[in-house]
Symmetry: C2
Subunit: 322 residues, 2 copies
C-alpha cells in the first residue's frame, strides 16, 4: 500500500444516500474515492447532493476534517466502469439496494477482480454476512459495515464479521471507521434472525409505539414527543443501560427497586402487529399533515443540520471536559 492516503483508493458501489455519504466521509479523511453506479443519472444526482451538502456544511462551520471543500471534492471521482471502481481499491464499500440475490451477485463480481489484500464490506442493514459471502473466494476478507442513516451525521457503524472473517479484517475495519470519524461497534456473532442490534432495538421501539397508538392510548405526535422531548434527550448522550444505571444508584439497586415492575410491563407487550391497514394509514396521515410528502427533502435537511450541530456540541463539551 502506498503511504500517502490520497494514493489509497476506496471503491464505493452504489451512489444512493448511503453510498454518497460514505464517499464524503472517506474524502473528508483524505482518501481517494471511486464511486460507481449502474445508472449515470443517479451518479450525477449524487454528485449534485455532495456539492450541496459540502456547501451547506461549510456555511454552518460543520465541515469535517482538515481539507477544504475543493480538496475533498477533488478526491471523489465517479465512474460507470465497475472494474475501475474495484480493482485498485484497498477497501470496497458495497451500497446497493437491500436484497440477498442482488448483494450476492455484486459480491461475486467484486470477488473476481478485487485485490487479494482488499477488504470487502457490505452496508446491508439486515442480511447476515455469512449469507452474502458463503460462496466467495475471498470470504475471509468480507465484513458488514452497517451505518446509521444519515451516515454523515450519526456516526455509529455496526461491524459484523462472518464466522470466517479474518480477525485482522475486523481490526483494520474498526480502525478505518474510527479514522473517518465514525464510531464502530462490534456485533460479536451472527444471530439466527436478521436485524443486527441497531434495528432490533429500533423495531422494539416502533413495535410498542404501534400498539399504544392502535389501542388509542396516545396520538402519533405525542408518542413522538415522548422520545424527542423526553427519552431521546438522554439517549443523545448515553445508552439505555447507562440511563438505567444512573436512574438508581447502579444496576444492582435498580434491579432491586424495579425488577418486578419491568418484568410485569414487558410481559404485557403482546404479539407484534404488522405495519398495515387502517393504523398505517392513520399514522401516515397524521404525520403527513405536519410534514407533507413534498417537503421530505426540507425536513431531512432540518434533521441533518440538527444532527451536525449535536455532533459539534458533543465534541466541544468533551474537549472542554464539561
Amino acid at each position: 500500500m502506498a503511504d500517502r492516503k490520497s494514493d489509497r483508493q476506496v471503491g464505493i458501489i452504489g451512489s444512493g444516500l448511503i453510498g454518497h455519504s460514505f464517499a464524503m466521509l472517506y474524502a473528508a479523511a483524505g482518501y481517494r474515492v471511486r464511486m460507481y453506479d449502474i445508472k449515470p443519472e443517479q451518479i450525477q444526482h449524487a454528485l449534485f447532493i455532495i456539492d450541496d451538502q459540502l456547501q451547506h456544511l461549510a456555511k454552518n462551520g460543520l465541515l469535517r476534517g482538515k481539507l477544504t471543500i475543493k480538496e475533498q471534492r477533488s478526491l471523489i471521482t465517479e465512474t460507470n466502469d465497475f472494474t475501475e471502481c474495484v480493482k485498485d481499491a484497498f477497501f470496497i464499500q458495497e451500497c446497493v439496494n437491500e436484497g440477498l440475490e442482488l448483494k450476492r451477485e455484486v459480491h461475486s463480481q467484486i470477488d473476481s477482480i478485487c485485490r487479494k489484500d482488499a477488504i470487502i464490506s457490505s452496508s446491508t442493514s439486515t442480511l447476515v454476512p455469512s449469507l452474502i459471502s458463503e460462496g466467495l473466494t475471498n470470504k475471509n476478507r468480507f465484513i458488514v459495515c452497517h451505518p446509521t442513516n444519515p451516515p454523515f451525521y450519526a456516526p455509529l457503524v455496526e461491524v459484523i464479521p462472518a464466522p470466517w472473517t479474518d480477525p485482522e479484517v475486523v481490526f483494520t475495519t474498526k480502525e478505518l471507521m474510527t479514522e473517518i470519524g465514525q464510531v464502530p461497534v462490534l456485533v460479536k456473532k451472527e444471530m439466527e434472525i436478521d436485524g443486527f442490534v441497531f434495528n432490533r432495538i429500533q423495531y422494539a421501539i416502533v413495535g410498542e409505539c404501534w400498539r399504544l397508538y392502535e389501542e388509542g392510548v396516545m396520538s402519533a405526535e405525542d408518542i413522538d414527543k415522548v422520545m424527542s422531548e423526553g427519552l431521546g434527550r438522554r439517549y443523545a448522550f448515553m445508552g439505555p443501560l447507562e440511563v438505567t444505571y444512573l436512574n438508581a444508584d447502579g444496576l444492582l439497586v435498580f434491579g432491586d427497586l424495579y425488577r418486578e415492575t419491568l418484568y410485569r410491563v414487558q410481559c404485557s407487550f403482546g404479539p407484534p402487529k404488522k405495519m398495515e391497514g387502517p393504523t398505517l394509514e392513520k399514522i401516515h396521515n397524521e404525520i403527513a399533515a405536519r410534514i407533507p410528502l413534498d417537503k421530505l427533502y426540507e425536513r431531512r435537511k432540518w434533521r441533518d443540520i440538527r444532527l451536525a450541530h449535536l455532533q459539534k456540541l458533543k465534541n466541544e463539551l468533551d474537549e472542554s471536559h464539561s
Copy 2:
C-alpha cells in the same frame, strides 16, 4: 385567584430529585413554591442542591426564565408543616416515593385540607391515577403529571387523567406545564397494566438490550453506543414514528418495503428476562468500571450539562428557523 403569579402558591410534597426539580421549574416561571418534606435533613439537602444547580446554570448561561437567581431562590420556601404547604396552593404536586399505600395516604391528607378549586397532581411513574384517587372527595380534580428524570433538563411530562378527572383540570394542567417550560403529552386512557407510555417504550428498549447482552451478541458499552452514537442522535430531535416516515418516503412506502422484516424481527424477541442473576452483575460491573458508584454525582452533572446545552441548541435552531 390573585393576579400576580408570585401570589399564587404551588405546594410540593416531597423534596427529593423530582420534588426539588419541580420547585425550581415553578420558581423560574415566577410562582411561589412551598416545598414540604417529612425529614428536615432531606429538605436542607434539597435547598443545597437547588442553590448549587442555580449557580451552575447561571455560570453556563442556562438559567431559565427572566428572574435572577436571587429572585428565583426567594420564591422557594421550605416547610415541615404539611397544612401550610397544601392549604393555600392552587396546584399541588405530590413527589413522595413510589408505592400505592404511601401515595393513597398522602392524597387522603391533601384531600381533607386543600382548596376546593385546587388541582392535585401526582408524579407517579407507574401507578394508574384511578388507583390512587378512587377514594378521594376531590377525585375529579386529581391528575398524574409524570416528568422525565431529570425534569429540569428533559421537558417531557406525561399527563394522565383518571376516568373521573374534569376536562378543565386536564386543560389547565397542560397549560401550566407548558407555561413552566415543560412539554405535556396526553395519555388518553389508563391502561390495564401500569407503566404509561414513557416507561413502556423505555422498558421495551431495555428488554431487548438485555437479551442481546445475555446472548453474547454485543458488550454493554457497545450496546449503549448503538443508542448514543446512532439511534439516540435522531431521537433527540424526532420520535420513532417520524424517523420511520423519513427513512422511506412516508409510512405507506416504509410499510411496503419493510413490513415483513419488522414483523419477522419482532416475532423473534422472545419472552422477557428478569433483571437479576449473573447478567445483572456482569452489566453492572462493566458500567461500574467506567463510572464507579462514588462518581455518580459527577456523572449526573456530566449528563445534566449536556441536556441543558441540547435544550439551548434546540431553542436556538428553532428560533433561527434552521
